[in-house]
Symmetry: C2
Subunit: 519 residues, 2 copies
């Protein structure tokens, strides 16, 4: 270093050297030096969001598709706070992310100015790694550590807090990214024990997660199942699955507790391939938390952070299943739905409309629950879900996925209630002209909660309670909302118009929104 370089520029150069090329931002005063450094460094694309939950959710969607972290840039404790719900989702999805949060200059924090808060404590419940950089000479090194930490298998949210003076004081120049350990391979004992469980002659399930849900992993699981007679399934929610033609049909454990219990009934063995013991999404009075039978024996083939695909290869080899014949999905889409718009007519239409290589974001909640089987024989696509259960992930996730894959159409399936948490994502989709087609399922209620009222045994439910689950009075108009943020769209009231509108959205560049009025 012959020329002086401030901390901000040292950090941005470190990020770029570490392969972090995209930053989803909503900056403020304390981040101005970071922002100013952008123009002095080649190779960092900076994308403005109007709300921080869009930034964190987009960073999640980006990383799931790019398979490397993006960064965020958030403004002090409250900026972080606005991003926390989607950080929660990213944490549960084991998404690699470099979450950068500005803070007051180190010497200013003691004055307790209005925006002062305990950022580290706020970040901890929603991050896997948290560090506050102490000064400008250290900030590049801390940034490098964050880039590495984010990618430590299975991936995590690494939150780096940047006091203002770490940005504007003289820095060290870019720092070298520490080596990121490769995924650990599983032990021979794990493979042997899994093989034994699956060949016990008793009902057994191979439960998949993580990289096992890409085509190769799915094929291995299908071969193992064909060979041993075991079942194989995916968890209820999955960060990313290969689906459609060329992939392998797989069921997920159902969301409703009663159905899940029924699905897992009689199982004596569950082999966990990156997956976890299946538990209820919520607790309900007089329903179990654990979804499998009490006497089910669990065998761990691989932890999520281990090399799950290698473990499946080894297991297939151990079982002599590497060449066992299997059937990949053929392209055989259902016939698009006609007539009234509802869950039953929408499902086949989605299956018929998914284009080649699409990315499907699934936040259809109650309306979308039946879409999964009907999209199995669609064109090849990936399917992204919410791993943390905090609704309001769909629009940001679609935004980030579209940034990562500009040549792939993104179809965002979105409940009307969910859409409203992070609706600001539409503006970023318009600014960046992202190929996202958003379908809003407008049933004008938190429909899932109507079922949950019954599930939790709430009685004598009256008007005041029902009003809390009702999104009418006034009716939302998502076409107006989209237009207000520069996204064209249309409202449809029958399946014929729905099919036409979705096809139009998917085949034209830039974002488009369809508000499907559920009958």
């Amino acid at each position: 270093m012959t020329e002086t370089m401030n901390g901000a520029e040292s950090l941005v150069r470190t990020l770029v050297d570490g392969g972090v090329n995209v930053s989803f931002t909503n900056p403020g005063t304390s981040e101005m030096h970071f922002v100013a450094a952008l123009d002095r460094v080649e190779g960092m694309r900076c994308i403005l969001t109007l709300f921080e939950g869009v930034a964190t959710g987009a960073a999640d969607g980006y990383a799931r598709m790019a398979e490397k972290p993006a960064s965020t840039l958030l403004h002090l404790g409250p900026g972080l706070a606005n991003g926390l719900a989607n950080l929660h989702n990213a944490k549960k999805a084991s998404t690699p992310m470099v979450n950068i949060v500005g803070d007051h200059a180190t010497y200013h924090r003691d004055y307790d100015a209005p925006l002062t808060s305990d950022i580290e404590t706020a970040a901890k419940p929603f991050s896997g790694w948290v560090r506050t950089s102490p000064n400008a000479k250290r900030v590049a090194e801390d940034g490098a550590a964050a880039v590495a930490a984010a990618q430590n298998a299975p991936g995590q949210v690494a939150t780096l807090i940047l006091p203002g003076d770490t940005a504007w004081d003289e820095g060290s120049g870019p720092a070298k990214i520490p080596e990121i350990p490769t995924r650990k391979r599983v032990s021979e004992e794990a493979v042997r024990a899994s093989a034994k469980a699956l060949t016990s002659g008793e009902p057994a399930l191979l439960l998949l997660a993580g990289a096992a849900l890409k085509v190769h992993g799915l094929e291995l699981a299908a071969r193992i199942a064909a060979k041993t007679g075991c079942r194989f399934m995916a968890q209820t929610f999955n960060a990313r699955m290969d689906r459609g033609a060329g992939s392998i049909a797989i069921e997920r454990i159902p969301y409703p507790v009663d159905q899940a219990v029924e699905t897992l009934k009689g199982l004596k063995h569950i082999v966990l391939a990156g997956s976890r013991v299946p538990v209820g999404f919520f607790a309900y009075p007089n329903k179990p938390s654990l979804l499998s039978p009490k006497d089910t024996e669990f065998t761990k083939l691989a932890e999520l952070e281990e090399d799950i695909v290698h473990a499946l290869e080894w297991l297939a080899d151990e079982l002599g299943a590497t060449k066992t014949p299997i059937t990949n999905n053929q392209y055989a889409p259902p016939k698009a739905g006609t007539g009234k718009i509802g869950a039953a007519t929408l499902a086949p239409s989605i299956g018929a409309l998914i284009p080649e290589n699409a990315i499907v974001v699934d936040e259809g909640v109650s309306t979308g629950r039946g879409f999964f089987p009907m999209t199995q024989s669609a064109h090849p696509h990936v399917w992204l879900q919410n791993m943390g259960g905090s609704i309001g992930i769909g629009m940001p996730l679609a935004t980030g996925a579209a940034v990562a894959c500009p040549d792939r159409p993104v179809l965002n399936l979105e409940g009307d209630g969910s859409a409203m948490y992070t609706i600001q994502a539409l503006w970023t989709q318009a600014r960046e002209q992202l190929n996202v087609t958003t379908v809003i399922f407008a049933n004008r209620k938190y429909a899932i909660l109507l079922g949950e009222l019954v599930n939790v045994g709430a009685q004598n439910v009256g008007r005041k309670a029902l009003d809390m689950l009702d999104l009418s009075r006034p009716d939302l108009n998502f076409v107006d909302l989209a237009r207000g943020m520069g996204v064209p769209g249309e409202r449809v009231t029958d399946m014929e118009s729905f099919n036409k509108a979705v096809a139009h959205g998917l085949s034209t560049p830039g974002p488009y929104l369809i508000e499907a009025m559920i009958d």
Copy 2:
């Protein structure tokens, strides 16, 4: 108790008995029993929001005007997370609030289901009091403790975490609210020392906060100033001030550091009446954090949690100033602005348009900085500001204030950038038909940050950096956004239309939005 009553109903009855009559909610599964209990209990008004930051910001606005806490009802860690930015603001405003967050049933938490997180840790940086209720028998008592804690002077955010089974198991019936201590009176030493500082003959300032900014407190300060020759001012940001005709003209410490330093130059004494040592909102390279001269002596008359008004009465008495003549503001509004829309023409129009007994919410940011002096001789009104600096408070604050005071017109002055963080508030304003007139100052940029780039000394700023401060491409259309949420409105491009539109909004029932296109 002869009949059984579950925990949820025991809690709701406790809240109502404690004077908590309004709940701003965004519930989920774990809160369904609380929701169901609403219809079994008279006297709790439940108001649905579509985003949790609206709920917490509205609870803040409600409490500032009603002078008692509202409750919230949020869904687990992520629901809390979405509400944290406005909780931060409420904490800094010392607003009393009963912040209720549902959690998984106690026995379900160990299973680490997707929505599980460490809610207590997330709540702590943004709450004054946090408690997780252990069981249904204790939940009413814990609720009562929260109601009391919220109102412990000067007021605080009391976060009560409710595991699902505390709601559905058999409860204890309502619990009694613990006694809330009255505000402590200041010591004779504090009054004597303050009197001495103000009569030293050296330049002195009486710096006011909290209840000192209501008419009676302001009159006392004016008398003291008239008697002693000291100056009196308010902090830069204030939770609530009485303004306009009948009140007392008062300046605030300017926001820009250089102006603030200039304003406080030469002061030898600052007497703190509920206020704090004035510090910069942010740190800037080569600018001080402390705004007053290094040799200024601070004298504490009253802490914010003490009886500030009584302290001023005592001080006035000590100084023989109780009858010193002062001049209250007369109604003498400026002439409404004409021609192009800009900060200079908007300021007199706001002064001319504020109606009798209005509540003005000030989130005008850069555009609104000059509104304060021009509204001094308007009709009597109160002025609410952001105490925590997290933008996105205006629309929720206006919503809550309108719920507290259905007979008072609310005028929300809002920057376009700020508006987008919690835009969902408009839907709640429409559903509840609240008398809120929102004025959006559409300059299509984060204008404040353009100044801050210079202030922090960022150099060689290029296109990529400036794009992060720019809200055009695409232009937002706030009239479309409002219509999409059921709020009528119009866009205006000259001051004549602006004046007409604001007068129309303020004089017609229900919400209205005016998008003022800054030239």
